[in-house]
Amino acid sequence: MTGVILFLVGVVTLAGIYAILAMILNLEAGWAGMWDLGLAGLVAVGGYVFIITTQTTHEDVVFAPGWPMWAGVVAGSLAGGIAALIIGIPSLRVRGEYFLITTLAFAEVIRQLSINLGTITRGTVGFNQFSRPFESLVSGSAYRWFLLAMVWVIVLLVYLLMRRLGHSPYGRLLRGFRDNDPVARSLGKHTNRHRIQTFVLAGLMYGAVAPLYVWFIRTVTPSLFTSEVTFVTWTALVIGGIASLRGPVLGAAILLVVTEAAALVQGSGEMAVVLASVRFIVLGLVLILVMRFRPEGLAKERDAFARASRRVEA
């Protein structure tokens, strides 16, 4: 029984990480209407910059300054923001589906670069021996509980931040753009500048939380940052309820716990291939059914902002 709990600690930690990603995605996609399919690329930038700047010894990389961990996190965050700016300027000229595809393309380019720039990123090998924060204070198996707590405290902080943002004039402005761009533009708001700002903010946040993912996985390789990260985050957001407040957290928790805990159901070895495929089938079915019967997701935007919109009307 304690074993199952320990396993679930890992699952819930991962769910927390995805909850954070989904909340950030909700900011840019749910509220600002920017369908970003390239968030894995921004997470990759943050993760790589963090690990490279905090490395001390690697004879086979050209740059290993060995910064303290907090500086690495800041650097990762800034790099995420800068990457978002670079991506945002060309691709925010276009909206909707074009933005969605250009961001996907950028993410793939970033992943390819992480493979090909071996002298900086250690290529396909990546990094696997590095320390984690407070590892000397928290011993062995307890570290998993520590990581869990850390991740969920950050979930809480990001949630509070998002709640504040969502109800602020800025949040209302973003949702206004999303719903009616021409009107917002006619009111003299510089929608494009706000979009870029929001995307850069999202980039900063993706970059800043990337180290959490790195600490959980304990290795950094290009294969970690495939578009599967993006799709899982999106699925979590969509299931939970896009543009709502609680939706991202709810969706990530349910999705990750269900799909990862499904791994506990293990049949015989011969059935393993089938069972592993069933995971995709279940994931797909859940997504299709949620879209069909509850397209707004489990938590609704209307509920989250009911009071706010009433205030606007009054």
């Binding site: 396993f7 290529g123 696997n128 198996s141 509980w145 969920w152 390789t221 294969s223 609680r246 791994a263």
Partner: protein
């Protein structure tokens, strides 16, 4: 909004409280493990051992759990069936001989989805939920992803098929590798090229760690030590529908031979394209290409048989009694001969080793078991070729030196094979077959 906030706070509080409890629990685990490893009483140590590997805490009752964390799905899925067959042969042998420490052995298979994230989650599942006592099966990236955790948990782990150069100097305490490394694979390919008198070689290499690491060693050795010329070094991403331009580029300067370092998925496409265009020449293959799918291409008219394509892979020690006893049992399950490129015999060997180590330690306690592994693989000691012989020798109070079906399995301080066997493989009648054994020339080591 208020209820939402409240839920979040409650969740966070639960997480923190749980963390505090976990902290206490964790300390208890460590202390128990540390204190009792020296205790002589087998009853006490067995219990303590469970604690040390932070397993589900099953007592001395019930089966001993051997973990197999492996890619059931994803990129490594094609290897799964044969790997499982090799492991099954070992488990059956162990149980037929009365199990380990009088307990039956159970094989627990968990899928790592052939991804890093999957390996991390799968590791937690196989250790925390299933509570395995020892671990086998992982591929390179899965092993690397969990390297730190394996050491933290003091979980005896054997890697039957990891080539990764990351393990060249990382093992020997809790993780062992019982196959030749990628670095050695690149080295032996260069030796082939030298012995065949090639001076102009082209390279076609897939951009993944398992393929590019040996290719880099090959290139370094071939150009710097042997003095040959690499006329084209073409790298490509896997997962494309065709590689025409890449193949054309490799053959553009008419090399004497082309080194193909690739998974068989892309490799198969490359070879069919080579055949269609009739580029001619010969190939040196990386070990990943030595699989039945590639050999079967000869039946579809791809003329790479009879020495056109040569590969050097970690060979099975076919003369060993262990191999002679293993091969028919493997064949009975799969209907196929053991195949070196598929590492089935290595999968078999790893569980025999782990079972012998537990027997020698007299406990499932991680550090105690791990302490036995290097010793029982290396001389001095009575050479044994099967689990039953090994148990008999241990019970007779002798030191043992296990020789496996894959090789003699002597290891160095880093848990790597000190003298891996290599065999030259050619395709004959649609199947890979070993045409010669090769000894690695140490003078080529960079």
């Amino acid at each position: 909004m208020k209820p939402g906030l409240r839920q979040m706070v409650i969740l966070a509080v639960i997480a923190l409280v749980a963390a505090a409890c976990g902290d206490a629990g964790g300390e208890a685990d460590t202390t128990v493990g540390g204190d009792t490893t020296t205790s002589a009483g087998s009853e006490a140590t067995t219990t303590a051992g469970d604690g040390a590997t932070s397993t589900a805490g099953d007592g001395e009752e019930g089966p001993i759990k051997f973990g197999m964390l492996i890619g059931v799905t994803g990129d490594y899925a094609p290897y799964y069936d044969v790997s499982k067959a090799g492991a099954d042969v070992a488990i059956a042998e162990i149980n037929d001989a009365g199990g380990v420490l009088g307990r039956q052995v159970e094989l627990v298979v968990v899928d790592n989805k052939s991804t890093v994230e999957g390996a991390v989650q799968g590791f937690s599942q196989i250790v925390d939920v299933e509570g395995v006592h020892v671990l086998g099966g992982p591929e390179s990236d899965g092993a690397i992803a969990n390297l730190q955790a394996i050491k933290d948990l003091q979980l005896p782990t054997i890697c039957p098929a990891c080539g990764t150069s990351e393990l060249d100097e990382a093992g020997g305490d809790y993780i062992w590798r019982i196959t030749g490394s990628d670095s050695d694979g690149g080295l032996i390919a260069a030796q082939f090229a030298r012995d065949a008198g090639y001076t102009r070689v082209a390279m076609l290499v897939q951009n993944t760690e398992g393929a590019s690491a040996p290719a880099d060693v090959f290139k370094q050795v071939f150009t710097e030590i042997i003095g040959g010329e690499v006329v084209a070094d073409v790298r490509f991403d896997p997962g494309q529908s065709s590689y025409q331009a890449q193949v054309d580029q490799a053959f553009a300067d008419e090399p004497e031979v082309v080194y193909v370092g690739s998974g068989f998925e892309a490799g198969g496409i490359i070879l069919t394209e080579w055949q269609r265009r009739g580029y001619g020449g010969g190939f040196l293959f990386s070990p990943d290409m030595v699989v039945p799918e590639i050999a079967a291409l000869t039946e579809q008219g791809v003329e790479i048989g009879d020495g056109v394509a040569r590969a050097a892979i970690a060979a099975y020690d076919t003369g060993s009694p262990a191999y002679e006893s293993y091969a028919p049992r493997y064949e009975a399950i799969t209907g196929e001969q053991p195949t070196p490129g598929l590492y089935d015999a290595n999968q078999y060997d790893q569980y025999i080793i782990l079972a012998l180590a537990i027997t020698a330690a007299g406990t499932t306690d991680g550090p105690a078991v791990a302490a036995e592994i290097t010793e029982l693989l290396n001389p001095p000691g009575t050479t044994v070729y099967s689990y039953a012989d090994g148990v008999a020798a241990i019970e007779a109070g002798e030191d043992i030196d296990y020789h496996g079906a894959s090789s003699s399995l002597d290891v160095n301080e880093f848990g790597n094979l000190s003298s891996p066997n290599f065999g030259e493989q050619n395709i004959v009648d649609g199947q890979w077959s070993q045409v010669a054994t090769v000894e690695l020339d140490p003078s080529l080591r960079p």
